[in-house]
């Protein structure tokens, strides 16, 4: 094995599948299994979880012999900022209204790219927010408060 286990993508795939399968199995143990004739709510999930764990074990086993390295890069910045921008959007829609939520969404998303020019991003934020208000609030009539408490 030329590279450590932690860089073995098949290993991680297998581990992830085992973890999810085990988790699902654990949760599903509370659901009545039932019988073939009268399938309970736990029947299908339990069987699926077991199959998933089985796949996970196979994949992990194979990975120990012939796994592939994790390919490609990951922009940590994008990985963290893009989901964060969505989270902020959700929070702000409840707290502050449409315009602040959108502005923060655009700003934080744009910040996740490698090329970040502050003026350009501010301009983009303004344009996109204005266009969205026009399209979604006025055009499509979505009933969201533009700025809460105003």
């Amino acid at each position: 094995m030329k590279f450590p286990l932690s860089r073995n993508k098949d290993f991680w795939a297998g581990v992830m599948l085992i973890a999810i399968g085990a988790g699902a199995l654990f949760i599903a143990r509370d659901y009545r299994f039932g019988s073939a004739l009268r399938m309970g709510p736990g029947f299908f999930p339990t069987i699926l979880s077991v199959i998933l764990i089985a796949f996970g074990v196979c994949i992990t086993a194979v990975s120990l012999r012939s796994g592939e390295k994790i390919k490609g890069n990951l922009s940590l910045r994008a990985f963290l900022l893009l989901p964060l921008s969505l989270l902020l959007f959700g929070v702000l829609m409840d707290l502050a209204g449409f315009i602040p939520a959108l502005a923060v969404l655009v700003f934080v998303s744009a910040a996740s790219g490698k090329e970040f020019k502050a003026t350009e991003v501010l301009l983009l934020t303004t344009v996109l927010t204005a266009a969205s208000v026009a399209l979604f609030i006025w055009g499509l009539g979505l009933p969201y408060p533009l700025i809460k408490g105003f």
Binding site: K9, D10, W12, A13, M16, L17, I20, A24, I27, A28, Y31, R32, S35, A36, L37, R38, M39, P41, F44, P45, L48, I51, L52, F55, C58, I59, V62, I70, K71, G72, N73, L74, S75, R77, A78, F79, L82, P83, L86, L87, F89, G90, V91, M93, A101, L102, L105, V106, S109, A110, G113, K114, E115, F116, L124, L128, S132, F136, L140, L142
Partner: protein, 498 residues
């Protein structure tokens, strides 16, 4: 003639002002995203799904379908002119198409690509019209065991023929099935896997997974592996192919159409596979294979016909049987369900305007695309100059508003963020998310059919193999699995599927 009447009816539906408008929008948006690298049909359809809530289902489906095959047309434009595949399937067209452009024959290449695609589109519209009804009629006789086995076969085939490691794809299908179970159990009413979260009582929203994994996840992926974009436009030249070009293109277009149609019906294949296979075949049967890679028009004509044929014939299993043959078809299925239509053989009889209207509008769409693509080429290429960093925040805006507007729930947006993260993790571990989406869409229906099948047979699981049609589906599933595991086939699959 029944077929004629149905088609006339279909055109009546497709040519209504509203449906024409939505078809045009779909084709325009489709061409746009086909031209722009970094955003593909899946992300776009996922993103625009919420916008179709208030639109009648026929118009919505027409638009979404237009986006799908429109992207095939758009992708070839940039492949030929700028050596940039706007669409994964267009990579092959770059090879000979761009060479032709460098030789000053870009116009001919574009015309043949559009013409070949249009021919394939017309033929496939007829194929769908001819084979759709008999297929749907046959499926109307299916019982729960047959449906279960059919879905199983569809999922297994999709996992096996799809990109990436076969074992992982099968596992992702199971994962998708589990995700589909989240929510209230129809039978007993108890909430499964809901973690006490109120918003999950109806299950994970389809749009949430679609947008999270395929739009947001795609953006993260693109930002991580940025492509170098050199925008150098070659001279388009005359749009008219020479007689020699036409003569050389006829049989390749025919071959491409047949191959694409066949692959289109198979679950799991993508237009990429169709173009790749078509190119390989053309190279093999050509009298002078050395011309390939240096501007052989067959290398443009056949793959373009193949990818359009594949894209259109992918609709057959979805419209007639309710089985999604690809990730994009799973999105279409999701769109139908959101509009309250249960896909399956019943759709043909219960909503004939949807069925025949969609078929007719596919042809109308192809016609629009040929007209749109050729004269507006300059405009499409100039759009390439829009930098990605301006584009993706717009995608985020559409995605966020779309998800939020489904239930006016912030929770949905948080969940989508989670799926964006998961989507990237899956990609990094080499697990393709498309089989997961297919499993997710079919999960609840599979369980329902399993339950009914076992009830009808009094708990006897052999019902799946004693009924002939069900047995046939199961045998095919097993056969495909076995065949794909044979070392010789495994290697070939690895070459094509990556």
């Amino acid at each position: 003639m029944e077929l004629f009447n149905n088609l006339v009816f279909g055109f009546g539906v497709a040519l209504s002002l509203q449906n024409l408008l939505y078809c045009l929008i779909g084709c325009l948006v489709g061409t746009l995203i086909g031209v722009l690298p970094g955003i593909g049909p899946m992300a776009t359809i996922a993103m625009l799904l919420p916008l179709t809530y208030n639109v009648p289902p026929v118009a919505a489906m027409i638009m979404l379908a237009g986006i799908y095959y429109g992207a095939m047309y758009g992708g070839s434009t940039t492949s030929i002119l700028v050596n940039l595949p706007g669409e994964t399937a267009s990579v092959i067209t770059c090879i000979d198409g761009y060479q032709m452009a460098k030789q000053g024959r870009a116009g001919a290449a574009l015309a043949i690509a559009a013409g070949g695609s249009f021919f394939a589109g017309t033929v496939c519209t007829l194929i769908v019209a001819m084979f759709g009804p008999p297929l749907a009629n046959m499926a109307l006789q299916f019982g729960s065991p047959e449906y279960f086995s059919l879905m199983l076969m569809g999922l297994v085939t999709a996992a096996v023929l799809a990109q990436g490691d076969m074992l992982k794809s099968l596992a992702m299908v199971v994962l998708g099935l589990l995700l589909g179970i989240v929510g209230s159990d129809v039978d007993s009413g108890i909430k499964r896997f809901c973690f006490g979260v109120f918003e999950l009582a109806d299950g994970i929203g389809f749009v949430i997974i679609a947008v999270g994994v395929f739009a947001v996840g795609e953006i993260i992926s693109n930002l991580s592996d940025p492509e170098e974009r050199v925008v150098f436009t070659s001279n388009v030249g005359s749009l008219y192919p020479t007689r020699q070009d036409l003569k050389q293109s006829v049989t390749p277009i025919l071959r491409g159409t047949v191959l694409g149609a066949f692959l289109g019906i198979l679950p799991g294949t993508t237009p990429s596979i169709a173009t790749f296979a078509s190119y390989m075949i053309e190279k093999k049967v050509a009298k002078d294979p050395s011309r390939f890679g240096h501007g052989a028009i067959e290398g443009v004509a056949a793959p373009e016909a193949a990818n359009n044929a594949d894209a259109q014939c992918k609709f057959i299993p979805m419209l007639t049987l309710g089985i999604p043959a690809s990730g994009t078809m799973a999105l279409m299925l999701g769109a139908l369900m959101i509009h309250g239509i249960t896909p399956g053989p019943g759709v043909m009889t219960s909503k004939p305007d949807l069925f025949w209207g969609m078929i007719a509008s596919m042809w109308v769409g192809n016609l629009m695309l040929v007209i749109l693509n050729l004269p507006l080429i300059g405009m499409w290429v100039s759009l390439l100059k829009v930098p990605y960093r301006l584009l993706f925040p717009a995608i985020m805006v559409f995605s966020a508003i779309g998800i939020y507007s489904t239930n006016n729930a912030s929770f949905d947006v948080y969940l989508a963020a989670l799926f964006g993260v998961l989507g990237i993790a899956w990609r990094m571990f080499g697990c393709s998310p498309v089989p997961m989406l297919l499993g997710f869409v079919l999960g609840p229906m599979m369980e329902e059919n399993l339950r009914r099948a076992l009830q009808v047979s009094n708990g006897d699981p052999s019902v799946f193999v004693t009924r002939p049609i069900s047995l046939a589906f199961i045998v095919v599933s097993v056969l495909i699995l076995v065949v794909m595991m044979l070392p010789a086939v495994k290697k070939r699959r690895g070459d094509i599927a990556g």
